[in-house]
Amino acid sequence: MIDGADTELDRTLIESIRDPLTHLVRNAVDHGIEPPAVREAAGKPRTGRLLLRAFHESGQVTIEVQDDGAGIPVEAVRAKAVARGLIDAAAAAVLPDERVLQFIFEPGFSTAAQVTSVSGRGVGMDVVKTNIEAIGGTVDLSSYPGLGTTVRVRVPLTLAIIPALVVRCATERFALPQAAVGELVSLRADGGPRIEGLAGADVIRVRGRLVPVVFLDEFLGLRPTTAARENGTVVLVRVDDHEFGIVVDGTQTGAPSGDPSTPRAAHAVTSMEAASLSTIVVKPIGSLLAQMGIYSGGTVLGDGGVVLILDLRGILRAKDLPPQPRRGDEAVATAVCVTDNYLVCRTIAGRRIAVPVDAVVRLEKFDGQELQAVGGKRLVRRGDLFTPVVDADMLLGTQAAQEDAGSVSLVVLDGRCGGIGIAVRQILDVAAADSILQPSIAAPGVAGTFAIGGIATELLDLVALVPTAGSHS
């Protein structure tokens, strides 16, 4: 299947990506997609599916080669990386799967032992990466066991005309590709939208969702970080599965430039139409600066000024922001698969459980007296806010331990999970899983078991919470 066949690209670039792309397609067919009999046994259609997708994004052309094959055996790659001395065993054990997959791009990673199941996939991947990087592009790879592999090639356009949003930050101006921009939120000191800190990470609350934010001035080192954060504009952008906000002083036409502290009488949420969009010509900024990975190019504005175009994916990479699942119930299910970090807790009965950090809004401590019972439900009150409380042990179907007066921590989940608080004895850690999730069959409330910090940990099944949440909202 081919999608985006009409996506245009410079001729010189086409020449440069022909060989790498051919290689990727051949790889997907040779090594990704399993033989029909194997596919049937795995409950998949006999015919494999290979999707080629091309589209413009952030001043770049993205080409995806996606198969629905067996995926790359991460553990085999991990073992091989250790065997080849690329990483020591202890470090490899805790390396997240997506980082492990990057070893595929190591020169000669697979050619050493063609016989292993993993080797085929890596043949020449280093060559693909080298070729794409030579023209200023990037190669990403994601793979899910049993579901398939996606290789994403991004190459810059040597010359492209894109709509962009020009923002002000400190004394500088920057352009953001409009395609990635979702909405603009004006920060207000007087009770309007503001930046909150959730466990050290800055977030903004947008219609019940918590979105991580990056302060552009701080990120670029433009001025001391003491600048007021009450004013300004948050540009919400979406890149791949990530949504994040970029805090800037304002947009080009927002307020007279030069005085970033001027309060703007803008609506709390500005519509895109109100913002200053301009059509810009993307120009290369030279290999030396393109290599930095945070600017995808430059442009010359009508006033003759040169403005850098921010590479949103580069910012995402540099800040290492966690994936933000899309809205809706389906998103909760994916969050369980793709999230990077888990909050590890001990329940009152002593079980070790994990909750995806993405789903956590805040953590609280409370004692038994603060619990109020209303119509058979338990609630904890914080000001005007009531949070329904569920004992983690009840969700897991184990008998809750004897109620005692010890301090209890509350893990408050976000709206998608009904905004409930899960009562646990203790928050132990935030960490990535060391192993893949082994789905559980019989245990209620448990999505599966994996190792975190080398200890078996049960992942709380948030999908199961969604139906109960519906009655509250």
């Binding site: 500088e172 466990a199 050290g200 990120f219 670029l220 080192g221 433009l222 120009k283 290369p284 900024i285 030279g286 290999s287 030396l288 600066l289 290599q291 930095m292 990975g293 945070i294 600017y295 430059g298 442009t299 010359v300 003759g304 000024g305 040169v306 403005v307 850098l308 990479r317 540099a318 800040k319 290492d320 970090n341 909050l343 950090v357 953590l363 850690d429 935030v430 960490a431």
Partner: protein, 168 residues
């Protein structure tokens, strides 16, 4: 060493001389695209230190390398003055910000002496030869090396940012 049957490559022996600090430097004139004064410079956050920004040159965006910083010399008394010596290196264009342009000289290859190999520091790593001319010493610079050293010197930006991201 060249066999007589082979045509001798026409070799451009002209060099553009310029002043940075108190020394005289030169680059092959064949790579010089343009010389201009002033030009508004847009700074590039997190760029290598010597890359002070970008200028707009007839539709092209050109990074500016401050040669004083590149050569490890103290900043000029009047900041951001100077002349842009715009070079075209294959597809990449760079502007070298120099104190003052001098004349174009013609020097035969055999008159260029090897530079002293004393210290390959930032002042000397791009010098490919020296030439004594009318009481002054001209240092020949290789534009590729000027840029390459900057690419290496680039701060490990991604790692540094990534490291600041911790857990709760």
């Amino acid at each position: 060493m060249i066999p007589s049957t082979m045509p001798v490559q026409p070799h451009d022996t002209r060099y553009c001389c310029f002043v940075v600090g108190s020394d005289c430097f030169a680059v092959a004139s064949i790579g010089v695209a343009e010389v201009l004064r002033d030009g508004k410079i847009t700074r590039v956050p997190h760029a290598p230190e010597a890359v002070i920004g970008l200028i707009h040159l007839r539709g092209r965006i050109v990074p500016v390398i401050d040669m004083r910083r590149r050569l490890g010399l103290p900043a000029a008394a009047t900041p951001l003055g100077g002349t842009h010596l715009v070079l075209s290196l294959l597809d990449d264009w760079y502007s070298l910000l120099v104190d003052e342009m001098l004349e174009v000289i013609e020097v035969a290859d055999h008159d260029i002496e090897q530079p002293s190999r004393a210290a390959p520091d930032s002042t000397h790593d791009a010098v490919t030869g020296v030439y004594a001319d009318a009481g002054r010493l001209v240092h020949f610079l290789d534009p590729q090396r000027i840029v390459q050293a900057l690419a290496r010197q680039r701060e490990p930006f991604l790692n540094r940012q990534g490291a600041s991201h911790g857990g709760i």
